[in-house]
């Protein structure tokens, strides 16, 4: 009889994992509906704000000379960044054969897809005339010109849409064996069974299916790895290709990629802590998982902090009065508070994760993750708004008159939009990978069954 870690028969562990994870797909209870109602109410307000903005014009935002990129672009960069940790955990750690990823990668992949769906809205909302969005696509048109491929904004269109397509494909492909498990666990003849049967594409787990699946999954992971690095690099070039002091820097690509993974891991922690409690998945999303995610936070927070320091150092060392002026303004100008929120939340608070006790405390990690989410939102706000309102000439210095209530409303709406998909996703799809967790059952589960 095959056993793992002591005397627990493997089949018993398998059955338990199947039951535990597929139980999360049970019809939702009142708590779920209550949360959904709140989320939909906020989303409704966000949609109202958007309609108001479309009818009235972009004047309802706080845009003024010389700040024409503000909260919407901040939100775009923030949400694209959130997406990144999902691909890191699912693809990059897969290639590194990190075993702890198995219990958390599915939910982070879902987060990736939903975060990109949220991010993709913001360039359009920011356009003002949303209905002209197709100008970004290279298609033959009556204006007889094409978008300029020298522009990072066009690279963005390609990078973000590719990222959405590939991360959805990666998510769906990894789901196929689990959807088959959901199909086989459902009542024969039920609608639920038919839906999962269709979604699982008739997967049966034969050697032929697995053989090609394993290979294809590896290749998709190998594609997703450079893709995720490219996406936030391209986003960073939206800024770095400009000459504004505070933007025009060669460190932007690695700085943004590290920041993206940093904020994304924090968001995974923020989402997973309530989810594990709610679904009773404590054995799967256990202290080891959080410990490892906290180590990622330590790593990426260090890189981000290093980038902050290098920026300040280079502003001084370059001798450029414009660079010096901008960076001095970051910590002592109109938006000094935003600059300090960024530094404290992203560089100081995560220092707590050097302690093993903190890394293994789920409550502490939850609190730290919220600080990081706030800090990383403000990082983008500082880079965008503070740099724009304090560029070369004092005569060109402007003020940002926002965020206005419309901008707040749309930002809140974007969180609701994201959470709406997330709530639907965790009820419709297995949020922990059934087949991969069975391959390497989490220790606490095995210990409890022993």
């Amino acid at each position: 009889m095959a056993t793992i870690a002591g005397d627990v028969p493997r089949a018993r562990i398998f059955r338990r994992i199947n039951a535990d994870i597929l139980r999360t797909l049970a019809p939702p209870g009142p708590a779920w509906y209550a949360m959904m109602a709140v989320v939909l109410a906020v989303l409704g307000f966000g949609i109202f704000c958007l309609i108001y903005q479309i009818r009235t014009g972009l004047g309802v935002t706080g845009y003024a000379n010389s700040v024409y990129w503000a909260v919407y672009i901040t939100n775009f960069v923030f949400w694209v960044g959130i997406a990144h940790s999902g691909t890191l955990i699912s693809a990059i750690l897969f290639l590194f054969r990190s075993r702890w990823r198995t219990s958390v990668y599915r939910v982070s992949e879902m987060m990736t897809v939903f975060a990109v769906m949220t991010a993709g809205l913001f360039p359009l909302i920011h356009l003002g005339r949303i209905w002209k969005f197709y100008y970004l696509l290279p298609y033959p048109n009556s204006r007889q010109i094409y978008p300029d491929f020298q522009s990072p904004l066009i690279w963005d269109t390609f990078a973000v849409s590719t990222y959405f397509t590939i991360s959805s494909t990666f998510l769906f492909m990894g789901l196929i064996p689990d959807l088959a498990a959901a199909r086989d666990a459902a009542e024969p003849g039920s609608i639920r069974r038919r839906i999962y049967a269709a979604l699982s594409l008739g997967w049966q787990g034969t050697d032929r299916e697995w053989r090609h699946f394993n290979r294809g999954y590896l290749f998709l992971a190998a594609f997703a790895t450079p893709l995720v690095l490219s996406v936030h690099s391209v986003v960073s070039w939206d800024f770095a290709a400009g000459i504004v002091p505070g933007w025009h820097s060669t460190i932007f690509a690695p700085y943004f990629v590290a920041g993206a993974i940093f904020s994304g891991v924090a968001m995974v922690i923020t989402l997973v802590v309530p989810m594990r409690k709610w679904f009773g998945l404590e054995d799967y999303l256990n202290r080891n998982t959080f410990d490892n995610m906290a180590k990622l936070i330590v790593l990426t927070s260090s890189i981000v902090t290093y980038a902050y320091l290098v920026e300040f150092f280079l502003a001084w060392y370059s001798g450029s009065p414009f660079e010096r002026g901008t960076f001095w303004d970051r910590v002592s100008g109109d938006y000094w508070w935003a600059g300090w929120i960024m530094l404290i939340c992203n560089s100081v608070v995560p220092l707590a994760c050097w302690s093993r006790k903190v890394r293994r405390s789920i409550a502490a990690m939850f609190v730290i993750s919220i600080f990081i989410n706030i800090g990383m939102w403000f990082e983008r706000f500082v880079i965008i708004v503070q740099s724009l309102q304090h560029d070369f000439m004092p005569s060109a210095w402007g003020r940002y008159f926002g965020p206005t209530w419309v901008e707040y409303g749309i930002t809140a709406g974007s969180f609701a939009w994201f959470l709406m998909y997330f709530l639907i996703g965790i009820k419709l799809l297995p949020s922990v990978s059934v087949n991969e967790v069975k391959e390497m059952p989490p220790e606490p589960l095995v210990r409890r069954l022993a």
Partner: protein, 192 residues
């Protein structure tokens, strides 16, 4: 090589799967046992064999794969190359082409018409996009998915807690072979 063909693995681009055959189905608790059973059946010259697994198998695949990697890699390569070509083509075409044939090509900022360095980014993105999608298509085509019907011998335990080995052929001959491989259960599967 005296080993017989292994069903569902050797038929790379061969004919469609045959009509349901009767045979024997054995259930196992772990992958090693199932892999040994596949090896034993092949030694005995029984076949074709189909193995089932609830987890990504490795030992079973070692038994059936016979050093020939999955052809999915070709889908990936071809898709990736098509993507690279498309990326360059979009950039170059939009640089050179002009929808009005009476007007000369538009020179932007004194650059050459095909100013290629930034196209590298588009080429990379489209390589990943088309390469990734064609990999997925490769998995579906080679894995014979989607399927509308399940195989005759399929049991729902194969996505839960059991590994399975199905071998088509004469049950009276196959049963003793399978029973020697320590299965949890052996049952006959025949078309109804």
């Amino acid at each position: 090589m005296s080993a017989p063909p292994v069903a569902e693995t050797r038929r790379g681009r061969g004919p469609a799967p045959p009509a349901p055959q009767s045979g024997m189905l054995a259930f196992y608790e772990d992958e090693e046992a199932a892999a040994h059973a596949v090896a034993a059946l092949r030694r005995e010259g029984a076949g074709p064999v189909t193995a089932y697994s609830p987890v990504p198998p490795h030992e079973i695949l070692e038994e059936v794969e016979e050093q020939r990697p999955s052809v999915v890699r070709r889908f990936t390569l071809v898709g990736g190359l098509i993507g690279v070509a498309c990326g360059f083509a979009i950039g170059a075409y939009t640089g050179v082409a002009y929808t009005n044939p009476d007007v000369a090509p538009l020179v932007v900022a004194g650059r050459p018409l095909v100013a290629w360095p930034p196209y590298v980014i588009i080429m990379f993105e489209l390589m990943v996009l088309i390469g990734g999608l064609s990999t997925f298509i490769g998995v579906l085509v080679n894995g014979r998915l989607p399927k509308a019907t399940t195989r005759l011998e399929y049991a729902p335990e194969f996505t839960n807690d059991r590994f399975g080995v199905f071998v088509a052929g004469d049950p009276s001959r196959l049963r003793p072979i399978l029973e020697r491989t320590h299965p949890v259960e052996v049952r006959e599967a025949r078309p109804s």
